[in-house]
Symmetry: C2
Subunit: 340 residues, 2 copies
């Protein structure tokens, strides 16, 4: 169906080795031969088979990307960054959405293995949090014998390069902003505390509170799980049934912020008036919808680019020491860190 290197060789009246040399710019080729080959390539609209090349070269030009929540704005933006670099390098991106499901993730890893990709970019599915699950994931990943870059969610005790976020600092800055905003009582809707990123953000909260000698009150610690629904339920119940509403809130990721906002909006409560709040991570469309919501920002697109660049670097320098890129957290004020 498609033309092969032999068709080009025939058409250009040279051997396929010469065609290959021209295409790969390797070895000596006379100007004449080069022209003939290029002409034939153009005329037949020939593009070499990546499969055949991969097989022959024993390496592909393909990277795998496994992402857990395509509906989350954060990952969409991340993917754009990844895609950008891949395109520029003329590589190919193989994508799968693991939907935070370890089973799906395991399947995807098999697919990735079958594709003999050059490397893998992975944000682990939520579930990998217990020691045991964690070890299993590490085992699966090691079995790939591949350059891997872990993004956003760290895998404890793992050897791979990482692109992470200043999680502690994010929690710290958010809390600090609320304290400076004059809030006396500050609550937090945590993430899934099985995940390190959730614990780190929480630790940042604790640290800021302690620094200011504010007593940690357990009734203000709300156990979320990084989903909008849970945050919504927590918030709704809180404002309905309890007088234990703190002045200010830290919401630990964009999904939680969304759930939190939804509940407060339903009750006609105004951020920056009826309560104070600082979220971690930007919410999509917040600017467009003119929604007042102070948050801790990071450059997600850049995270994607960095991750892919590190992966490429790693595949060229396999013995280099472990690389870690930690994206800074930045407080963006839209006024909601103060109450009233």
């Amino acid at each position: 169906m498609d033309f092969t290197i032999i068709d080009i060789a025939n058409k250009a009246k040279v051997s396929k080795s010469t065609v290959s040399r021209v295409l790969n710019n390797s070895g000596y080729v006379s100007e004449k031969a080069r022209e003939k080959v290029n002409k034939a390539v153009k005329e037949l609209n020939y593009v070499p088979s990546a499969m055949a090349q991969g097989l022959s070269k024993k390496t592909s030009n393909t990277v795998g990307v496994l992402i857990p929540e395509l509906q989350n704005y954060f990952f969409t933006e991340l993917l754009q960054g990844l895609s950008e670099v891949v395109d520029n390098k003329g590589m190919t991106l193989i994508f799968s959405d693991t939907a935070n499901d370890p089973i799906k993730q395991e399947k995807a890893l098999l697919m990735i293995k079958g594709q003999r990709v050059k490397g893998l970019i992975l944000t682990p599915a939520n579930e990998y949090s217990s020691k045991k699950q964690n070890l299993e994931l590490i085992k699966s990943l090691k079995a790939l014998h591949l350059p891997i870059v872990i993004v956003d969610r760290e895998i404890p005790d793992s050897p791979w390069d990482t692109v992470l976020f200043e999680n502690f600092n994010a929690g710290y800055l958010a809390t600090k902003a609320l304290i400076k905003g004059g809030n006396k009582t500050i609550g937090i809707i945590t993430g899934d505390m099985n995940l390190k990123i959730a614990r780190e953000r929480y630790d940042g909260y604790l640290c800021a509170m302690k620094e200011h000698n504010i007593e940690i009150d357990k009734k203000y610690i709300f156990n979320g799980d990084f989903t909008a629904n849970t945050a919504y339920e927590i918030t709704k119940n809180l404002f309905e049934n309890s007088s234990n509403v703190p002045d200010g809130f830290v919401t630990c990721n964009n999904q939680s912020s969304i759930g939190f906002l939804r509940a407060t909006l339903e009750k006609n409560l105004k951020a920056g008036k009826d309560f104070a709040v600082v979220g971690i991570d930007k919410i999509n469309l917040i600017k467009e919808f003119n929604i007042p919501f102070s948050y801790i920002n990071r450059d997600t697109y850049l995270m994607g680019k960095k991750a892919m660049e590190i992966l490429i670097d790693r595949s060229e320098n396999p013995t280099k020491e472990k690389m870690e890129c930690i994206m800074p957290a930045k407080f963006v004020s839209l006024g909601t860190e103060k109450k009233k």
Copy 2:
């Protein structure tokens, strides 16, 4: 590095053909041999090389997906639908974001061609709208000799299966809702009128207006281009400098709706009070943010699933007649189709 079929054959003490037969469930294999092979496969954690398989079978298990705007919620959701089916079928998804850039798209098509994919899902980049550009795209696509499914944006006079939207009806329903809402003057922020989907939506608007004997007033026709920025500028200028503000608006895609809303929010104008509006396509987070905004909805996730299913169907039935799937448009009222 990775194990090969020969390693399995050696370990199981059979020939590689037998291994292949077991793996592919083809031909006769004794129970004994099967067990030995499976054992070896498991022990060595063997996964066949998709590249070698593809080369040998002269067909891959891979589909290409080219999408023009990953930042648009519509396409994210679409991608989820595509991804779902791909995963279930044990296929592999190769992804590229063309960023509405024909040059990038052309590059991506070359990449796709090199990968010898089984088929291609494509939403063409915006630019392909002039007759000439259109023909060029058709030529490029034909040169692929591949099953192709065109999604959302039709390519006129093209032979490929399509999954489209009731564009005319969307414009019609939106306008009708505004008319029923009692609005006397109704404007429209159109999409990029080079695109058929924009013209169809506009035609729906015209039709509804005529049906109700409402005069079309050119000063209420605003030439947008499906981007938020343009809609924002149009809306901003309109409310600032002109007394020619219609009672109601049709905004022709979600990006335009976002830009429109942003401008009105900035001016503290309230949908359903200061003006009426019905948008085409859902805006992300509209429910969560409790933003009143009536719109014309479609099941985007399903569109993705359908598209991939059609692609698979097509690759199994190459001679089947052209398939067209048109997703229905449904009006969702959140009250903003009325003014005051």
